[in-house]
């Protein structure tokens, strides 16, 4: 089995402060791994480092995506190469229609992969079909990106973007935060529909709740800037009962 993502001894700083202190993680093709951890453990930092955000500096270690060193790739190159970040706080872009942005994004990726660009008709057809599965109104296409969207609508819109862009590696940063149970089910169904043998996902969450709907192949616990524990999906239940306190050992052998 090939690995989509290999993170080795990753150290990273944010504005000079070390947040990640030696993260090791291997994500094989087709698998979903969850990253859980207390607030301030470095979960969001890891997602931004993977996406290539300015100000997030890798000081040691390496990240290989499909065997390629990410260090030399800018944020937009990573995205065009198939890395997608579903934002914890999706950004509002006044004056830019959701469809205009998304079409540009979809076609930037297709162009980079040497695939033909989607024309307006195909884009609209595909968009409408996907919006329906996410229980979103078609009006979301014409509204400015995330402007006036409720918290749940913003998260759904992220999954809608993900479904349209069809990434190889999707990083879902606290996609469950701010969702009520109905929205959580819709969003999870949308994510599950995208599971396939060529697509890997890293699901970052604080709560076990999401993992009842998006069942991961493995769970890693990030604490103090390191993966302190890894295991199967049953680890989530254990965390739910015992909390993050006292987690230091490696249960990956289980």
């Amino acid at each position: 089995m090939t690995n989509i993502l290999e993170i080795r001894n990753l150290h990273a700083t944010v504005h000079g402060k070390e947040i990640l202190k030696g993260v090791d993680l291997v994500l094989p093709a087709g698998e979903i791994h969850a990253i859980m951890g207390p607030n301030g453990s470095g979960k969001s930092t890891l997602s931004y480092v993977l996406a290539g955000r300015d100000g997030y500096e890798v000081t040691a270690g390496e990240i290989l995506y499909k065997g390629q060193d990410l260090a030399v790739m800018e944020a937009d190159e990573r995205a065009r190469a198939g890395i997608f970040l579903a934002f914890q706080y999706p950004v509002e872009i006044p004056g830019v229609a959701n469809s205009v942005f998304l079409k540009a994004a979809v076609n930037a990726g297709r162009k980079a992969r040497g695939e033909p660009e989607l024309d307006a008709m195909d884009f609209l057809k595909k968009s409408k079909a996907l919006l329906k599965t996410l229980d979103m109104d078609e009006k979301f296409l014409n509204r400015p990106v995330n402007v006036g969207f409720s918290g749940g609508e913003k998260k759904r819109n992220e999954i809608f973007h993900m479904a349209m862009i069809e990434p190889s590696l999707a990083i879902l940063d606290e996609t469950d935060s701010g969702l009520d149970i109905d929205a959580l089910k819709v969003v999870s169904a949308g994510v599950n529909a995208l599971r396939n043998e060529n697509r890997s996902m890293l699901v970052i969450t604080h709560y076990q709740r999401l993992l009842e709907h998006i069942v991961p192949d493995r769970i890693h616990v990030l604490a103090g800037g390191r993966i302190v524990s890894s295991g199967g999906k049953e680890l989530a239940l254990e965390l739910e009962q015992n909390g993050y306190a006292g987690l230091t050992g490696d249960k990956s052998a289980a």
Binding site: A75, A79, I93, G95, V100, F101, A105, H161
Partner: protein
């Protein structure tokens, strides 16, 4: 005196010297024109020492002589070019070349639309005040423009596109429009100021007076899109009747120096003024938008939003005064100015002013100067857009957010065509 004596300025002198030979060929009352010239001479041209002009200097009128333009010049554009320049779908076009009406390039003017040259309009001192001597200069030299009377209850569906083309190095062009809307009337007017040949330096000095009747609605757009070395000054003097509405959009995309002024007065209670503006500058362009709104009656509302995007060494200026008289209770006035500096050398000056003398009012103002938002850029890049594509899309959205506030599709389209062209010219 905080002004330059008119005789010390070569452009002012050239006008004074040309007056006697010219006045017989200009429409209307020669005595009123002489009075206007006298007022102009007495006031002189405004300098930066006049508070209203502290950010904008008219030095260009001293460095080069601008004299009243000859009405006819060669190299007129074709009718198809006129429609492209105007960019207002389905409009009735009235075309003025160096301030003179050109019937061959224009559409038949509908009932209620006359020419200033045929209407014997007597120049008045409307809008003249401190720092406003260019309006007096316009009153002395105005050659043509339209005089529009919309009858009570008449709603004109087709937008009127007034295309003012200037050309010839050193040409000064003075135009004036008068718009009068009866009760419940509605009209959309777009002024497009463009250059005939971009190479010559011209000076356009355009004044529009508008009187909006009770419950009437005027949409008035001004597009300043002249060539690189053009100087442009325009002034809108607007009076709003009871429950009337004035929607204005002033766009600056051309010229070396542009100043667009709006002077709005509520003549009765319950009126609404919505003033929008965009200035997109690069190179060494200077763009000034100055607004004055007087709330002299209760229950009137003003919404102002002006956005600048400045690249290169461009200099943007926004000055906005909102005056609320003691008895103008229930005034609702909001003013906002936003500036994007796209280079280290671009400059934006903002001077918002609220003079509130009444209690029980809602007033707010704010001005910001900054760069494109880093979070927004990252969001777009994280979806695969190159830094340049992300920047372009954000800039487009920045302008679109403003244009989207216009209800009139044809006018929005004309403005969008100009802003899209500006964005397309942008050097990455």
């Amino acid at each position: 005196m905080m002004t330059t004596p008119a005789t010390d300025n070569p452009t002012a002198r050239a006008h004074a010297e040309a007056f006697a030979g010219l006045v017989s060929s200009l429409p209307g009352d020669a005595t009123a024109r002489q009075d206007a010239l006298t007022r102009f001479k007495a006031a002189g041209l405004p300098t930066r020492r006049v508070e209203e002009w502290k950010f904008t200097g008219l030095d260009a009128l001293s460095r080069k002589v601008f004299a009243p333009a000859a009405p006819a010049i060669t190299g007129s554009p074709s009718r198809a070019q006129i429609e492209a320049i105007a960019g207002v779908p389905g409009a009735i076009h009235a075309v003025f070349i160096n301030g003179s009406f050109d019937a061959s390039l224009s559409d038949a003017l509908p009932a209620g639309v006359a020419l200033l040259s045929g209407a014997s309009v007597t120049p008045t001192a409307t809008g003249e005040g401190r720092g406003q001597s260019l309006i007096a200069l316009n009153a002395a030299f105005m050659r043509d423009g339209v005089v529009i009377d919309v009858a009570d209850g008449a709603r004109i569906e087709q937008p009127l596109a007034l295309v003012f083309l200037a050309g010839g190095d050193g040409a000064a062009v003075h135009t004036r429009n008068v718009v009068r809307l009866g009760s419940g009337a509605a009209l959309q007017v777009v002024e497009i100021h463009a250059s005939l040949n971009a190479a010559g330096a011209t000076f356009s000095n355009a004044v529009t007076e508008a009187v909006i009747g009770a419950g009437a609605r005027l949409t008035h757009a001004r597009i300043a899109a002249e060539g690189k070395s053009a100087l442009h000054h325009s002034h809108a003097a607007v009076s709003i009747g009871e429950g009337g509405e004035y929607v204005s959009f002033a766009l600056s995309v051309g010229g070396e120096l542009t100043r667009q002024e709006s002077d709005v007065r509520f003549a009765a209670p319950g009126g609404t003024a919505r003033l929008y503006g965009a200035y997109l500058g690069r190179g060494r362009q200077h763009m000034d938008h100055t607004t004055r709104v007087r709330h002299d009656h209760p229950g009137c509302a003003t919404e102002e939003l002006f956005k600048g995007a400045l690249d290169g060494e461009a200099h943007g200026v926004f000055q906005g005064l909102i005056h609320v008289a003691p008895h103008a209770i229930k005034t609702d006035a909001r003013q906002r100015n936003v500036n994007l500096l796209l280079s280290d050398r671009a400059v934006a000056d903002a001077k918002p002013e609220l003079e509130i003398l009444a209690d029980d009012v809602k007033c707010s103002h704010g001005a910001t100067v900054g760069d494109l938002d880093a979070d927004e850029i990252f969001y777009l890049r994280a979806r695969g857009l190159s830094p340049d594509a992300a920047r372009r899309l954000l800039l487009t959205g920045y302008v679109e957010d403003l244009i989207g506030r216009l209800d009139d599709a044809a006018i929005a389209a004309a403005i969008k065509a100009r802003t899209d062209a500006w964005l397309g010219e942008e050097q990455p």
